[in-house]
Amino acid sequence: MAKPKIGIFDFACCEGCQLQIVNMEEDLLNLLALVDPVEWREAMSDQSDHYDIAIVEGSITRDEDAERLRKVRESADYVIALGACATIGGVNKLQNNFAIEDVQVMVYGDAANMPHLASTPAQAIHEVVKVDYMVHGCPIDAHELTHVVRCLLAGKQPVMPDYPVCVECKMKENGCRYEYGEVCLGPVTRAGCDARCPSNGFWCFGCRGYVDDPNLEAAASVMEQYGKTLDDLKSKMALFGSAQEHKL
């Protein structure tokens, strides 16, 4: 691919994943040597109507956003979902635990019915359009994004790990959070983050989504042994788990 045109788009999210691109500092210049950003609202004023690669951040929470996303999809050869909001719905899906009308009243009170506040349950990008590649994480790791971009440029399929975070956590030589009496989602969460949270003394809250075949029963069965309850586990899984805790 000759210097591909890249567009970066954001939907409901904190824009922290885009920020990781800016945070690449000098490496950003390396990236710019390989790709040609033609649209990136947060950082530049230009716009375009074709993209070799569209990088999409955020969840879809309104019909008009779904429409905008479809347009992006139509104008792009590859779509990369960037970060947890885009790949699994992220924290946005917490709102799906409530009826949308209730959430609106909770937040906007009497104004909840104003038309411009209309919204739908949060969806990940792939629930609306076809996604070619996912860069997981909340926020993403810029190295992973650039790895994916470099692979795509080389014509190589980037390999996404399907083993749990524990693998990387062990390699980082951490004491396991369970030994501290905490509930960690590492054993069921897809690796690729270098176990960032456990390596900083914090349990894994599952921002990369689950491995293909998570053993949730195993996770549940050991709660008592650590002085925890099933509800403790469920409440951790609820944070990024796209309501998968309901499977337990």
């Binding site: 080389a154 014509g155 190589k156 399929q157 390999v159």
Partner: protein, 284 residues
């Protein structure tokens, strides 16, 4: 303790040698034929049934069987047939003549063309891409035809379009000093031959079990059925050789991926005497 200079003399088992693609063409929709030529350095001594690690820099390495026979090409040339399956093989398919690859090897055991097969009747049973490594042994045997007894080649593919080396198949078919039988799982309008899985061919041949060596190579599911048929034909397990594929990352007995129970397939295989693995539970 070895000094730095001493260590630098030691051969790095992971270091590929540069080679060039000298020929490449499509054989089927998913398989391409390759001829690689070693650029410099030593020639690799190899025997039929062995494999090499083929590198495309940036994409990785894959174990690939040598399909040519040392009786036909010099030891700096290797013919291979590669199925497009993932990153490395897709990158290989994208190469054009003159482009570089890396080669290291040869690795693994080989078909007993120089020992157990000598003087015996030989039956080759090949399923699909399993023909690729066996072709090396077939060439070897045909080039030393007088040293073996009856030679029978059985080949099965999914469909007529999946047939590899069609010209050679035609040549084998027309040779009078060997028996060649072929079948496809699913025929098309032009196919006039046998239809059915490979075991149907086994039922059609006569063998002298005491004096026959059987070589089996094909996809994982093929082995069970073929071996069952061979048992019916009273072929002793020690007369049967199978070539088994496993996930490999190093091909030098370290990485652990290819282990079949305790056996490293890259070292004790890929060609196994069936008697040695009949009790190895993960083998077949």
């Amino acid at each position: 303790m070895m000094s730095a200079t001493e260590l630098s003399q030691v051969r790095d088992i992971y270091l590929p040698q540069k080679a060039t693609v000298t020929e490449i063409y499509s054989m089927t929709e998913t398989e391409k034929f390759f001829r690689f030529h070693l650029e410099e350095g030593e020639a690799f001594d190899y025997m039929p049934g062995q494999f090499m690690e083929v590198s495309v820099p940036g994409f990785g390495e894959a174990p690939i069987s040598i399909s040519s026979s040392p009786t036909r090409v010099d030891k700096t040339t290797f013919e291979m047939v590669i199925r497009k399956a993932g990153n490395v093989t897709t990158a290989l398919h994208a190469l054009v003549p003159g482009e570089p690859v890396g080669l290291r090897g040869p690795y693994g055991t080989h078909f007993p063309v120089e020992d157990a097969m000598k003087g015996k009747d030989v039956v080759f049973v090949c399923g699909g891409i399993g023909l690729v490594p066996v072709r090396s042994a077939i060439h070897y045997v045909l080039d030393n035809r007088d040293q073996y007894g009856e030679v029978t080649i059985l080949s099965g593919t999914r469909s007529p379009e999946d047939r590899l080396f069609t010209e050679e198949l035609y040549e084998w078919k027309t040779r009078s000093d060997i028996t060649f039988l072929e079948t496809v799982d699913k025929a098309d309008a032009r196919w006039g031959g046998t239809v059915g899985v490979i075991t149907t061919l086994l039922k059609r041949i006569q063998i002298n079990p005491a004096n026959t060596v059987v070589i089996v190579c094909g996809p994982p599911i093929m082995y069970k059925f073929v071996l069952l048929e061979l048992r019916k034909l009273n072929v002793d397990n020690s007369q049967i050789y199978v070539s088994l594929e496993r996930h490999m990352r190093c091909a030098v007995g370290k990485c652990g991926h290819c282990q079949i129970n305790g056996l490293y397939a890259c070292q004790k295989g890929a060609v196994f005497n069936y008697a040695d693995i009949v009790d190895v539970k993960e083998a077949i």
